[in-house]
């Protein structure tokens, strides 16, 4: 087939480009469509959904979509949707008449819906982007069941310990040296002594606290145990799981009173207003710090969660992978695939960064030496880990993570003494799930 020939010949071109150490690849060679596909695109309409993100999200989308239009002649119609409602109704939207392409999450959410036939198979697009994507990212975007990718990986971020350098200095500690569990406890204790919150957590949605559980479990029992636990090969009632919750309980006295009242944006605001010592969060919120002021952004710092069990060190991290997916039921699937590929290509990424996106891209094609200090630190934190988790609600099945584990952790935070009963119940609910 002529298309295959094109792909084969371009592969060598890609290799050449990567080795050439291209900082920002110039358009042509890396975005590939056969000639006929290109003419099909011109004049067609592709629909894009921006999942939340406010004004910044719209701005970034406009920049990338406009560049795509300029390049291919295809029109892009974009809309923004409430992220929670989109996620809550995802199955319906995908079965209905969805937009062609949208930002989505790797892991269960793309694998499951892809295997059900609701997301387009993006094998070809991944192949075309192979030169700019690291193997680990491609693997993370591929379903382990069908061996096909249903998402083009673009950004990732560490879910790690964030704090403000100025506040750490004020309590007499070194912001560049928060390494051990004792350092961590000391940071929270001293911050709390000043009348502020030691460790902020917002558990209103049920999913936020999973980050804390994930990292504690990985630190105490190791990556393999954590993944086994999420997939039913280890038990929630096991003493090792209970050990994790013992450490979790140690954090509760440092938390803010209104844990159940706020979500991630409340946590961000607490840090923004210098009211909290530390928090476990995904680094994406830094966009808002930067929007507020460069000084605030520069004050931000992130480190890996400290070691608890020397057997495992700090070898694991939650680094959720996000990307672009294409709806199988969209009106213009081919256009959606082309748009997705553009978003995930160095060309599209450049546009996004220019428009104000501070996220880290997995793409290899970028010269990271120009990254600012915070992003360099993010990379360092990500690099320090050998094992990458995607976050509990992406690593575990959807009818278990949200409905069972989320409320269980919330119950635990509300009443830590109930932990044994809570864990028994979680195990019972896992056992009752239909498995095939």
């Amino acid at each position: 087939m002529s298309e295959e020939k094109n792909v084969v010949s371009r592969r060598s071109v890609l290799k050449g480009a990567a080795i050439g150490g291209a900082a920002l690849a110039a358009g042509g060679a890396l975005t590939t469509e056969s000639a006929s596909a290109a003419t099909r695109l011109k004049g067609s309409t592709v629909k894009w959904t921006t999942r939340g993100g406010g004004a910044t999200g719209d701005k970034i989308a406009k920049a990338v979509n406009d560049a795509f239009t300029k390049k291919t002649g295809a029109k892009v119609v974009a809309q923004q949707v409430n992220s929670d409602d989109f996620q809550n109704n995802f199955a319906q939207i995908m079965q209905g008449s969805p937009d062609d392409a949208f930002g989505w999450m790797a892991g269960y959410r793309s694998n499951h819906f892809g295997e059900m036939g609701l997301l387009a198979d993006l094998t070809r697009e991944i192949y075309r982007l192979k030169g700019s994507l690291p193997t680990a990212a491609i693997k993370g975007a591929t379903s382990p069941v069908s061996k096909k990718p249903y998402i083009l990986p673009t950004t990732y971020y560490p879910w790690a310990l964030h704090y403000r350098k100025s506040m750490v200095k004020e309590i007499g500690m070194n912001p560049e040296k928060i390494d051990t569990w004792d350092d961590f406890i000391k940071l929270m204790t001293l911050t709390q002594k000043k009348g502020l919150v030691g460790y902020s957590l917002g558990a209103k949605g049920g999913w936020e606290a999973m980050g804390t559980f994930d990292i504690l479990n990985a630190r105490v029992n190791g990556y393999k145990y954590h993944i086994d636990l999420l997939n039913g090969r280890a038990k929630w009632t096991d003493a090792r799981t209970k050990e994790t919750f013992k450490y979790f309980a140690k954090l509760i006295p440092f938390m803010n009173e209104n844990v159940m009242d706020i979500s991630w944006d409340g946590m961000r605001d607490l840090l923004l207003q210098k009211k909290t010592g530390a928090m476990m969060m995904g680094s994406w919120f830094a966009n808002d710090f930067k929007a507020k002021s460069q000084a605030d952004y520069d004050d931000l710092w992130v480190v890996p969660f400290p070691e608890i069990n020397p057997k495992f060190g700090i070898d694991t991290i939650d680094a959720p992978l996000d990307g672009i997916s294409v709806a199988a039921n969209g009106k213009n699937v081919a256009g959606g695939k082309a748009l997705a590929q553009f978003w995930a290509s160095p060309e599209g990424i450049t546009e996004a960064i220019k428009a104000g996106d501070t996220n880290i891209y997995v793409s290899k094609s970028f010269d990271t030496s120009s990254y600012d200090a915070f992003n360099k630190q993010k990379l360092a934190v990500l690099g320090s880990a050998k094992n990458i988790m995607f976050f509990l609600d992406r690593d575990a099945r959807g009818d278990f993570a949200g409905p069972v584990v989320g409320p269980a952790i919330q119950s635990f935070i509300k009443k830590p003494s109930d932990i044994n009963k809570i864990l028994e119940n979680v195990q019972a609910q896992w056992d009752a799930l239909p498995k095939n």
Binding site: G52, Q80, N82, D85, N89, Q95, G96, S97
Partner: protein, 295 residues
């Protein structure tokens, strides 16, 4: 006798004191009642930067309608209000029409199934929405695929109108049938004697008599359908087609820190039903009571 008179005078005086006390209490209570709405209006009139700099309790340096202008422009509220209109008006008209048809047959003609039908219709209105909404979604997609266009009913104003009608027609039928029972049999009889067929009977004889009930019901239905936000969330994937009440969800997330803008948007969204309530109060109350108190 005299003691009786004196007693009732004392009684009347103490009653008067109690009455004034109650009046004052209700007055204050009313203020507290409406305070959250007043606060939102207040918030919508204050410039954003003032609140950021001086806090929410600060004395205003100036009041402005800017937030409203911004709301209309940035949040494209006009578009969503139009969507609400497109969905609400046909839904109300169809609901009342269908309701009157069924009520007409059931009250003017003797059929064995009359009561069963009425019962089913009334009960249907009280079913929880969550019981039916997913199969309705599947049905819409399936029908759409049959005709080659997934958007035939899903993500389509028509589909949304259909579900609203389906859900509200039961209440309309119930109310109109109890109203129609008060229309004397003689009117129908003389119409039939004069040779009117069923259609004429309905259209020329009964329908004009329904005007007060229809007016009352239409005000009520418009409020309920306009205020509804759940169906559009499930059945409209295009945000630009959603009615204002559903769009508020997205706006709430997008402008979460922009209190003043959000407040203005909420007030604009609330305006149509509030205005309608104040102008058409009598009809409103009549509509409510038609269904619940038997005349």
């Amino acid at each position: 006798m005299s003691t009786g008179v004196v007693q009732s005078e004392q009684y009347r005086n103490s009653q008067k004191r109690k009455d004034t006390f109650i009046s004052i209490f209700i007055g204050i209570f009313a203020f507290v009642w409406i305070f959250p709405i007043l606060w939102t209006v207040w918030t919508s009139l204050r410039p954003y930067n003032e609140i950021i700099s001086y806090g929410i309790f600060s004395w205003p340096r100036r009041l402005t309608f800017d937030n409203y202008i911004n709301a209309i422009q940035e949040m494209e509220i006009g578009k969503y209000l139009l969507n609400s209109l497109i969905v609400t008006v046909p839904s109300v008209i169809l609901t009342l029409f269908f309701g009157s048809l069924v009520a007409f047959v059931v009250t003017r003609y003797q059929y064995k199934f009359n009561l069963t039908l009425l019962l089913l219709f009334t009960a249907g209105n009280m079913l929880p929405i969550v019981l039916t909404y997913i199969p309705v979604f599947w049905m819409f997609i399936w029908v759409g695929e049959l005709f080659g266009n997934r958007n035939l009913l899903y993500n389509n104003y028509g589909g949304l109108i259909l579900v609203h009608v389906g859900f509200q027609v039961g209440f309309a039928t119930f109310v109109l049938s109890s109203y129609m029972k008060t229309i004397p049999k003689e009117i129908s009889e003389s119409a039939t004697i004069d040779g009117a067929n069923v259609f004429r009977h309905y259209f020329n004889v009964i329908l004009p008599l329904l005007r007060p009930a229809l007016a009352a019901l239409s005000v009520l239905m418009t409020t309920w359908i306009y205020n509804e936000f759940f169906w559009a969330l499930v059945l409209m994937s295009d945000d630009s087609k959603r009615p204002i009440t559903s769009a508020l969800r997205r706006l709430q997330g997008q402008y979460v820190t922009d209190f003043n803008l959000l407040a203005a948007g909420a007030i604009i969204a609330a305006a149509p039903t509030v205005i309608m309530f104040f102008i058409l109060r009598k009809q409103f109350i009549a509509g409510l009571t038609l269904g619940s108190t038997k005349g």
